[in-house]
Each structure stands twice: as C-alpha cells, then as structure tokens.
Symmetry: C2
Subunit: 790 residues, 2 copies
C-alpha cells in the first residue's frame, strides 16, 4: 500500500461525520423505531431482595384494558442466560440467570413477569395489577455478610457466596520482603456501587420477520453478536434466525456490553404474539435493575525501601458482583483484571494478590468503563501517597522513582508492557500544574486557611486486548480478533463494515479517516456501516478500548488490500508491475509517468461491469476483508492526571479548580475525538469520586432509584480539562494507535482522592474511599469537640 498524499487525515481533528445527523435530529435510537402493530413491554419486578416466589397471579393484569398479554418464566419456557468459563477453573461457580425469575428472586428489581400492552402506560397499569407473593429469605447486602461463616447463600448451586477466588500471583519470599522493608504502608480502599448511566437507557424492539424467518432485534448493545448468540440460545433458535441491529446509541460504558434479560423477554413476547414488541427502560429501572458496577474493596499494603522504591505489593480484593454473573463477562472478570494488572505503571518486584468475586442480593454488575482499573489505580495511588508521606518524599518524586522506563517491560505479573511515556507524562503533568501557578496558589491559599490540594494519578491501561490476553481470563468466549470489510462500488464510493460498534466513539469519522488515507480517497466518499449482525460475519463489538486498536487495524488492512487490488487492475491495463503504480487522490498513477492515471471510477467499472477485461488471477468486484488480532499482551495507553481541588468548610463541597491530563494513546487518529473521550471519562471519574453511589439498606432495598437520590454532576461540577498529548505509537497495530476509550475514567478518581487528601493534610485526616461525600469532607474539616470524640 502506497499513498502519495501529503494531506493525511489520520492525526487530524476532522469534524465528526456523526454530528450533522445527531445535532439535527436525524439520529435513530431504539426508541425512535416505530413499527405497525407494535406493542409495549413493562416488567413486574421483585420487591424483595431475596426470597422464594410462592405465587404469581397475573389474572388482574390480563384484565387491565389495553393489556394484550402477560407472561411468567413458566409461560415462556426460555433457556437461561448462563456465563461460563471456557476452561475448567475450580474457583469459579457458574450461576444461571433466568430471563424471568423462576422460583427465587435475588435482588429488588429482578424481572418476574412481562406485561405487554398497547402502549407503555397501559403496560404500567398492568404492572400494578400483578400479585406476586414471596417467602422472604435473609438478604446478603455487603461483603461482611456474604463472607460470614454459615452465611445464607445467594445461589444454592454454589457452596458459598464467593463465586470466584483467584490467587494469580504470589512471589516467593514476599513475606520476608515485607518483614524486612524499611517502610510498609497499608490502605483499605472501598469504592461505591455505581450505575454507568448512559444517557440512553436500555431498550429493544423485537419483531419476527416471517419472510426471512428471523427475529429482528433492534437493541442498544455494544456486542450485537453476543446478544444474537444469547437470544438464539434462550429462544432455542438457530443463530441465523436472530438478527441484531443496533441503531444510534446514547452511550454504553460497559453496561451495554453484557446481555440483558429484558430484551430477550421482549423478543420472546414478540415471537409468541407475532407482533413487534418495544421495551424502553425508564430511569428508575436503569438505576435499580439494570447493571451496576464498581463496588470493590482493596485491603492492600506495599513495602518500600528507604529511597521510596517499591519492594513488594500485597493485595486482597473483593468485588461485589451482585446477584448474577453476566454474559459473557462472568463475575470473574473484575477480580481477574484487578489481580493481574494492579502493579500498573510501577516496577513491582514482588507481588501477592488474592482476588474474589462475591454474590450479594443486589442488582448484578457489568464491567463499567475502566472495569477494575479505576479502583486498583486508586488503591495503588493511595499506597504511593502514603509512602511519600511516610518517607517525606514529594508525591511526584516517589512516582518518578518507580515508574517503568525501560520498554518492553515484563512485570512480576507476567504481563509485558509495550513502550509508553510513563515518566514523560508525569513530568509534563507536574510542569503544567507548576507553570499554571497552582503550587504557588496552594501555598498562598493555605496561608489564608483555605484548603487547596493537588493530587496526581499515574496509570496505564491495557487496550487492544487480543485473543491471547482474553484467553488468560478463562472466559467462556474469548474475544480478540475483529473483522472489517471495505467495499468500493461502481461509482468509486466506499462502504466500510466493521464488527465494532460506535456508541459515541465517532467511528464513522475515525474509521473513514483511516480508509481515506489508505486509499488516497476523499473522506466524504467513505461511509461506515456497523451494528447489523447480518452484515458482517462476526464482530466482538466495542468494549475494553479495542475498537480503534483492533477494529481500526482490520479496517486499515482491508483498505490496504483494496488499494492493492486497484493498483493491480490499473497495472494490468498498463501492462506494468503493480509496484510501479501508486494511489493518489482517487486515482492510480504510474510512478514513471505521474500524469498518466486511471480514476477509481474507471477501475471500478472494469472490476464490476467489464470483468472480462480483468486478468485471470483477479476476481471481479472491489471488496476486501481483513481480520486483525493481537497475539501478545496488548498495548498500553498511559496518562498522568493532575488535579487541584478546594474544600469548602461550610458545605463540605469539593470544588475542582483545575484538571490536567497528559495522555498517550499512541497515534491519535483524531485528537479531538481522543479529547472527547478524555473529557467524558474524566467527568465520569470525578462523578464516581465525588457523587454517585447506590447503597442498599439491610433489607436489600436500593437507596437511589431516581436522580433525586442518585447524584450526578452537571457542567457546573466538571472543570475545564487541559489535555496534553504525547504519542508513543504502538508497534503492532496497523495505525500505531492504542485504545483511548477508558483512560479518563481510570485516572480521575485516584487523582481527585489524592488532591482531597492533600487539601486535608493540615487536618491529619486521610480518606481512602469513594465517593467522597460532603459529609465526610465537612466532618474532616470540622475540629472535633471533646464530646464528639468516641
């Protein structure tokens, strides 16, 4: 592949192709889909956290005017959604998640029956007429209850509530290292249970297409082919009899990369009734009954030498998975990722870890943006801060002494890190803060009694997980490869079809940039098609920051092959070797005579409409496909975040005064898009650090089921983020890009927490948990009177 163009698009902040559509109301989301005769589904949901169902009486439901049908698990006879591990792992117990609860309920909000009515409001009326009787069982609502001896079990098929127990790494002699270390610090970090909170809640429109003998399931998912697999299994259909179509999506963040129960139930109802069925989740259900995330508990210690160099790391992590293992990312994924990757950007010579996932009577979890990384980075960065204090080192300096600088670096966790800018990003971030005057302002503010703090976080993020990396996770399915097809039509316009699926990540823009460059073609001549399981053999979808690294590489390879074919056809017409041609602005040129060129339209005309003129070894048509996979440990994006906060005494408010992000995702295909990812992720990370949390009371009732109780930031709470780019190209992706989707979310909580602790330094209080509520800050800033002392 050769392109003579100097005006390459990759690396430029080309304006988003998606925006004209989305900004002018021409987007099409699931809820925009209207089909003749369409019915609407709502779900009768469990009102108890744990119990056996003694009776479901839907007689009254079926009498509500406008209600067309109501189904229980027994009515629909569906297969269960069961996430398994691909290889036997004695520490993991697979647990079945029925589409509708059968016999037993395990969390408040669990779907028990589906009501189908003429409109969604009548369906809600139907819900009120449902009579479900439960025999309550004691709910498990926290780690302590779950792990208690003789605790009631969430799943009868498991001997205990711990469903995954991994102890991946344990360096020999680690106890001696800790015993002899000059400095050992401890942290106990807990992170709150959150909802990933995409702007668009979940939803589906299911329709049986009698002509195609296919269930057409429009749904907002990050993994259309996985939904197809599960829907086909639950509905007992061949996979080809299910077509999943994903229209525009208002965010996913991992919540939509596991398969939901409601879309399967809606599909089953559509099959039963022979009419289209729409289900749109409301915010109450989204908060209480979709998939939650983040609740983890790290009990960690780290050993340092006197110079602040890490000698060892010893961690116990417990992930509260809620009631079920979700498909395909079993409960195993969170403890496995935390265990494997916690050393992060630091050189850790000795490591011990135990990772567990426990079942509780709470809504199940999905791998929310960053997965375990926001949490283990928080634990790790707290350890660094604590050691810095202990050793009276500057927080930046202690990091500087520990970050990996020689690449590729194979860690104690057996993971090989490809080159990154760990030290450079740290230095640049500190310099940026310093040059912006924040250190001086902090000093001045403190003198005035104001509580200003500066905090950092350093992290790298494994992206572009290929099948090799996923295979280590022992999942039932092993994502990794992805596919792309690049097709030029007879008019010389190009359609790119991918297995990845953009739900805010601007793939319509970035994939077109990659193809336009590869083919020397006008950007507007390239159109992306995604999100239709019938249109591409397979796709693993978009999660784990894999789309540009893996999907984009497949696109680049396929475009390259198409370019080669164009050159071969032109070369044959000229009777010269293809090497003597080049692609240039919609033409193939002769290198020896650049004024002689054949347009793509001309070559396409030959390839399709005059195929008898093609040489025998060139197939007609202009379609090229490519598969790309990563056969090593993946590629590591990295960043340093630096944040300045001020704590307000009266309110306990944490105000973010400044936010700096120095990120390196290799080649940024579209820097503006990368910045959008950073800013959005940072907003979510800040929100997790300061605002969002769903707690459960002793009965297992969730605390926050609306935006009245579930606090999310507005533009007011999110600061302007100053972003600096570094570029350490990836050596093995086709574009040099690494993943950029999750970084912001990973770095923000730790940086904010560290900044708050820095601000609190004069008080002596240290906080290790998120969210950092105003109450906590207020309490920390308020000198205790004697009677308040315990």
């Amino acid at each position: 592949m050769t392109s003579a163009r100097a005006d390459r698009l990759v690396g430029r902040s080309v304006a988003r192709r998606e925006d004209p559509r989305l900004l002018s109301g021409r987007g099409r989301f699931v809820d925009d889909i209207e089909l003749p005769g369409m019915l609407h589904a709502q779900f009768v949901r469990s009102t108890v956290a744990h119990g056996t169902i003694t009776e479901i009486d839907l007689t009254g439901v079926r009498q509500v005017p406008g209600v067309v049908a109501a189904f229980t698990a027994d009515d629909l006879e569906l297969g269960d959604i069961t996430a398994r591990l691909g290889r036997p792992l004695s520490e993991f117990v697979p647990t079945a998640m029925p589409v509708l609860a059968r016999d037993r309920v395990r969390y408040v909000g669990e779907p028990v029956a589906v009501v189908i009515a003429r409109d969604p409001y009548l369906a809600e009326d139907g819900l009120e007429a449902a009579r479900v009787t439960y025999a309550p069982l004691p709910p498990i609502t926290c780690e302590e209850q779950a792990l208690a001896p003789d605790a009631p079990r969430v799943h009868a098929e498991a001997a205990e509530n711990t469903l995954v127990d991994v102890g991946l790494f344990a360096t020999e002699g680690i106890d001696e290292i800790f015993d002899q270390a000059p400095c050992v610090v401890h942290v106990d970090v807990r992170t709150g249970r959150q909802n990933a909170l995409p702007l668009e809640t979940r939803g589906a429109v299911a329709q049986w297409d009698a002509r195609e003998e296919q269930l057409v399931l429009h749904t907002c998912t990050q993994t259309p082919h996985q939904v197809r697999t599960v829907a086909a299994r639950c509905l007992r259909l061949d996979e080809r009899a299910v077509r999943v179509i994903v229209p525009d999506m208002g965010g996913g963040f991992g919540l939509k990369c596991v398969v939901g129960r409601e879309e399967i139930a809606a599909a089953a109802a559509a099959l039963r009734l022979g009419r289209p069925v729409k289900w749109i989740e409301d915010r109450k259900d989204a908060l209480s009954a979709s998939f939650l995330a983040r609740e983890q508990h790290y009990t960690a210690r780290a050993a340092f030498d006197a110079d602040g160099r890490i000698l060892g790391l010893d961690t116990d992590v417990v992930c509260d998975m809620g009631a079920y293992s979700c498909y395909p990312f079993t409960a195993g994924i969170e403890p496995l990722m935390a265990s494997a990757e916690m050393p992060g950007v630091y050189k850790v010579p000795a490591y011990r870890v135990r990772g567990r996932a426990i079942a509780t009577n709470k809504a199940p979890t999905a791998p929310y943006r960053g997965v375990s990384r926001p949490q283990y980075v928080m634990a790790m960065e707290r350890l660094m801060e604590r050691a810095a204090r202990e050793l009276r080192l500057d927080p930046v300096e202690i990091r500087r002494r520990n970050v990996i600088t020689d690449f590729p670096y194979t860690g104690v966790n057996n993971i090989t890190y490809d080159p990154g800018s760990y030290l450079e990003s740290l230095d640049l971030c500190e310099r940026a803060l310093r040059e912006a005057g924040w250190y001086d302002r902090q000093t001045a503010a403190r003198a005035e009694g104001r509580h200003i703090g500066i905090g950092f976080s350093c992290f790298s993020e494994r992206t572009g997980y290929g099948s090799a990396a996923f295979a280590q996770r022992k999942m039932e399915v092993v994502p990794g490869f992805d596919l792309a097809e690049v097709r030029m039509d007879t008019s010389g316009a190009v359609t790119v079809t991918t297995g990845t699926i953009s739900h805010g990540q601007s793939h319509e823009t970035t994939m077109a940039q990659i193809v336009a460059d590869a083919l020397g073609l006008d950007f507007t001549k390239v159109k992306l098609h995604q999100g239709d399981t019938d249109r591409i053999t397979y796709g693993w979808g978009t999660f784990a920051s894999r789309s540009i690294a893996i999907g984009g590489s497949a696109v680049r390879l396929a475009a390259g092959r198409l370019g080669d074919k164009l050159r071969a056809i032109a070369a044959a017409e000229w009777g010269i070797p293809p090497e003597e041609t080049e692609l240039d602005r919609g033409r193939v040129r002769r290198r020896d005579d650049p004024d002689t060129a054949l347009t793509y339209e001309h070559l396409a005309d030959t390839a399709y409409l005059k195929s008898h003129l093609l040489p025998k070894d060139i197939d007609p048509g202009l379609t090229a496909t490519a598969v790309f996979d990563v056969h090593n440990d993946g590629t590591f994006s990295n960043a340093t975040h630096g944040v300045v906060v001020e704590l307000h005494e009266g309110t306990g408010q944490v105000e973010i005064l400044a936010y700096f992000c120095v990120e390196d995702c290799g080649v940024a295909v579209n820097p503006q898009v990368v910045e959008g990812q950073c800013r959005g992720g940072i907003a979510q990370g800040i929100s997790g650090a300061l605002f969002e949390q769903i707690t459960y009371d002793a009965q297992g009732e969730p605390s926050a089921t609306s935006f009245m109780d579930y606090k999310v930031p507005t533009a007011h709470e999110i600061p302007e983020v100053v972003i600096h780019h570094l570029e350490t190209p990836c050596a093995f992706t086709e574009t040099g890009a690494k993943g950029a989707g999750e970084g912001g979310t990973i770095g923000a909580p730790a940086a904010v927490l560290n900044a708050v602790n820095d601000a609190l330094r004069p008080t002596g209080v240290e906080l290790d948990n998120t969210p950092i509520t105003p109450e906590t800050v207020h309490r920390a800033l308020t000198p205790r009177t004697p009677e308040q002392t315990p």
Copy 2:
C-alpha cells in the same frame, strides 16, 4: 470437498422452501410494504404516440385535495437512463430515455409527470387535473413505416430509425450454395407484440434513510445492482447511497430485468419530499406503458440437399424495439441474439444473416423470457417443416438428419455447443407421442374430417452466459460472473447470500440443496438471503437462465471452501492432515476412525468464540465466498417439444390435446422445480402462439390495455404437459446443471405453429405468424367461395 452422504439432495424433488410462506400469506411483496408517512405516486402519461410537449400545466393537479406534490422532468432535474454499448459499434445509436419525458413523447403511456398524494386514489384524481398539450408528429407504428425512405425519425439524434444493424455472419459463396441447391424454402415469420405479464406488476417503495444517508428502494427487479447503478446516476448520488432491496416477487420474465423510469421518479420524489413514496403499477399501465416484447419479423430461406440436409441459411430479422433502448439490455440484444444463435440445434454449413432493431412509437421492449429464441426457433422450425413437405420427408426424419450429434460442435456462427441430447430428445419425444397413440388417433380423426395436427420443435438454449459470451454482445455492461457467500454461524446454521435473485425460480430451495450436499448438512439448517444490494458485493441478478448454472456454481464453490475450512479446523484439533477427514451429517469425521467426529457447532464455537485455539494460518470465522464465471460460449440446454392440436371449424379454436416435452438441462438440481419452469414456460409459449398480442393502430394507440382485450389463457387452455428428463451434465458448471428457466417458452410457439399447420395440411393453407387467432384458423378451415377469392 468430500461428503460421505449417500442421501444427496441435488437431483431430488425436495419440497419448496418458499411454499409455506407464500401459501400462508407470509410473503412480502413490494405492495405489502407500509411505511409511516408514506405517499403514493401516479403518472401523467402521454396520450399521443409521437409529439412535442408544448405545455405541462400541473396547477390544477396541485389543488386536488390530498395531492402533496407534482413534478415534471424540469422539476426533478434527473439524469437520463441511457443504454450504451461498451465498445464503439458504428451500427448502434444510443438514445437517451429520460425518467420523465422532456420536450418530446414517443409512445402512448410515456410518463410525463409524477403526482404524489396521500393515497393512490387521490393521486389518480390528480392525474385528471393535469393539462398537457402536445404538438403531434407522425407516429411510426410498424416496420414498413420505420424503414421507409424519409420516414419521420423517432429519435432526432439517430440518422434513421434503424438503431442497430448487425450482419454478423456471411459465409463466403453462400449465394452459389443457394443457386445450386436442389431445394430452397422460404418463410416470412412475424410474431406479435406481447407483454411478459408477470402476475405482479411493477412497483417500488422509495425512502430516504437519513441516518444511513441512503435511498432505500424496495422494488421488484431481476437486477437489483443494475437498478442501483441507474438510480444513483439519475439521482446523482454515490452508488453506496442507494440500497435496492427486492422482496418477494410475482414473476419477472425479463420485463423486470431492465430499469424502469417510474421507480427512479418515485425515488426522486421521496428524496424531494423527505417522505416514503410508493408506486404500484396498475394493469392498464403494465400492458400499455411498461415493457413489451417479441415483435420480430424473419424473412428467411434455407437450402437443402435432396436428402433433406441443410446446405445454407439466409435470414433477415427486424426487431421492433419500440421507442427506447432499455438499460442495460440495449436494443442490440434482440438482433444480436437472433443473428448469432439462429442455426440452433442444426448443422448449418453456410450462413448469412442481417439483424436490425428499429425504433417505433410504441412502448419499449425488454428481453422477455427466451428473448429472440422463441422467434428464431419458430422461423427455423418453419423452414424445416417446409423443406420436409417439399422433399416429402417425415418432419421428424428431416430433423433427425440435421441435428448436431457430435459434441463439442463449433457452428458456422463460431459458437461452440457443449454436449446435449439433441437427437435423443427428438427420438424420445416422437416415441412418447407414438406410444400414447397420437399418430393413430390423428389418422382416425382425419378420416372423420376432424383437424388434428402434430407438431414438433427442436431447440437448444444457450444458458450460463459468462462474461465471454456477453462480451460478444458489446453491451455497455458485461454480465457474466456471479458471487456467493456461505456463512456458518456459531450455532452451525448456514446463511447463503447470492447475487442472483429468485422471483419464482425456487432458489431458496435449490441453492439450499446445493449447500446442504456440499456440507453434509441438514437442509433446514440452510437459509438463502438474496435481493439486497448492501448484503453482497455485486450480483448480476437473474435472467438468461443463469442463476443455477452460474450463481449455483458460485454457491457450490463457496460451500466447498467452507467445508474445507471446517475440515482444516477439525484436522488441526486432531493433529492430522485435512485430507484424512470428511464431512458427514453435520460433523467432520476422521477417515481412520469414523466414530471420532466433531460437530459443526463445536467447530464453529472454536472458529468464532475461541479463535485463539485456531492454527495461525486459519482466519477466525466461518465465511467463504466464491466467484464463478464461464469463460467459454456457455452451456446449451436442449429440448424437443411435441404437441397435438385439434382445430375446431366453427370457432376457429385451437385446442391442445396433448403436450410432450423432453428436456435436458444437465443435472436437474430439483426436477420438480425444472418441471415447474417447463410448464410455466410452455404456458407462456402457448399463449404467445395462440392468444396474446398488443397491436397499435395508425395513431399509435395500443389495442389492448386491459384483460378485456389482452387475451391470456386460463387453466382450461393449457394442457397437461408430459415431461421427460434427459441428463447430459454440463462439464464446467460446479453442479453439472445447465439453465432451465426459459426453455418452455422457446419451444412452444414453434411446436404449436407446426401442429396447427399439420392440422391444416389437408387445406393447403400454411401459417407462419403468431398469434394464430381463431379468425385465421376459421378462415383457413372455411372453403373459400368464389366471391371471396381475391
């Protein structure tokens, strides 16, 4: 590819997959498509055959309640539909067919304006309010007018009304051969102008999909990708911005293999209005303003030796193309096919031919089932009959002495015929009639004064035209190759996607048979997808009996490749060479240990979901594609038809007493389907011979615009057809199949005409033209009184 199955499906009359859907009302035809906000189009059509448009006043139309818009050519500014030849051919004059008439109209029914309304009836109301003024020009309504010196020209850009004049073959010394031949016979054969008359008229639903930036055009066409090309050009869009989807179709017969004007106009209106537009042709428009066919005139002579062996053939053929050359099959196709292929099944040592297409002020023509073959076979078979009479030879015997028996045979026309059963089919057909007692019954009936006749026709049909054969036709586009994709999903079910498009030919059944055999897979696990330009790179569609020969070969190749991949994956798992495995009933077996097998589900699971277990040289996924083309002169199906008629004196009715067809289309993938094609084709051929005709009066007004005037047979007029199969497998298609779509239509008119002439033998009258009307027969059977003698 190896399959151990003894129970092969190819060759068996498997029940049609299409029938449960179609018989239970679950088919989806264009008119079944309902979209929110859909509008309806009707066309203001020319009331004069030839004239200039002096004024179009749509003011009144726009005031009709329910009318939303009305557009003329000037309003829509569309590109023209222009069929060109791919290589310069001085004898052909390309003529532009505007989507809506501009300035000039050239036939009664030509679309002049489109009216868009809330429903189709209101749109019809709108038509009545249109005021179009014409300055009439003298219409050209027949060959004699068209070819007259100083005839008015239908197209100003052409110097005369002859738009194609080909004289492909002229053997040296042919005049001497005729001069010296012991027997020279002449015929003057004219065939009536017909409509192909699919049960479903034409129609389209056009919608602009703002999200995909695509015009989605549901239309009933045999050539979806060709419609895409033309629509994109006329609408000035990239081709990828047009998606053509073909739902179920109620027949096409060639009428739907050219691009219509109305679907483009409907699409343009949908673009303009931003709302879906439906157009459904009514029968009046179908008969008068769609595409007609068949009207040809052969002035031919043949020279024979005393033993009845052909010495030479000399033909002039004039094809009345009507007002326009249609895309992509220009006016050239009819005279070119007739000229090239007229010698047919006979050994013709010397040949001269002149083929012309003339423009007239009649509705344009499309290549109706059989294209020129029903006509040239009629001319050729009339020559054989006449020579038999002249030489007092039995009509079967004279054919027996002339049919090609040594294959491959390269004719005087430079076409190489692959093996067929020309002689065997003739012998078998005659024997079948004789054994059924028809010769005896004819003798007995004649003795009673009844008019029973026996007639035969022998023909071969070039099918599986590859690009090599089409390239000879010098068309702008050169059909030939076709594509197939065979994809197995993770459940082991298979989807086949083809570029051909079944519109009654049972591809859902036959393609599945081919794939099921190739993969050793249950027939019900295979589903065909067709008719969506976005779903396959390209497809030439279904015409010229190409689908099974070419499309089926591509399907077989692709399925074979998929089977090879399954074997390779299994072999890798076992660590043995792929050659030591075989496919058997949904499993790959070890040859050395047939009890050891891996199911397709297991292998699919590896190929998709555990791709890390695949060997490095095997790509993930289970999709295989193949291209197939024919690089020689094609493969020739053949048949002999034998028919027994009785003429009824009082009414002039031609009653068909018996019909025998001995056909050889190579391997019949599904004999019942082949028989369906034969029976349907024979019905159409009989209808052309006896019933259907659209004449034009001197003003160019068509005679038949409804079923009141356009006579079509019912079940009563169509006899039971006795079909015998012979099987001469094609050596170069992947299944051994030849095309079977057109044969019935080709053989019937000549056989019926010969039988009628045989019945008329006692009267001395000979008929050479079709349709053979009751008036003609009545006149022939009624002894002329002296005053009736001219």
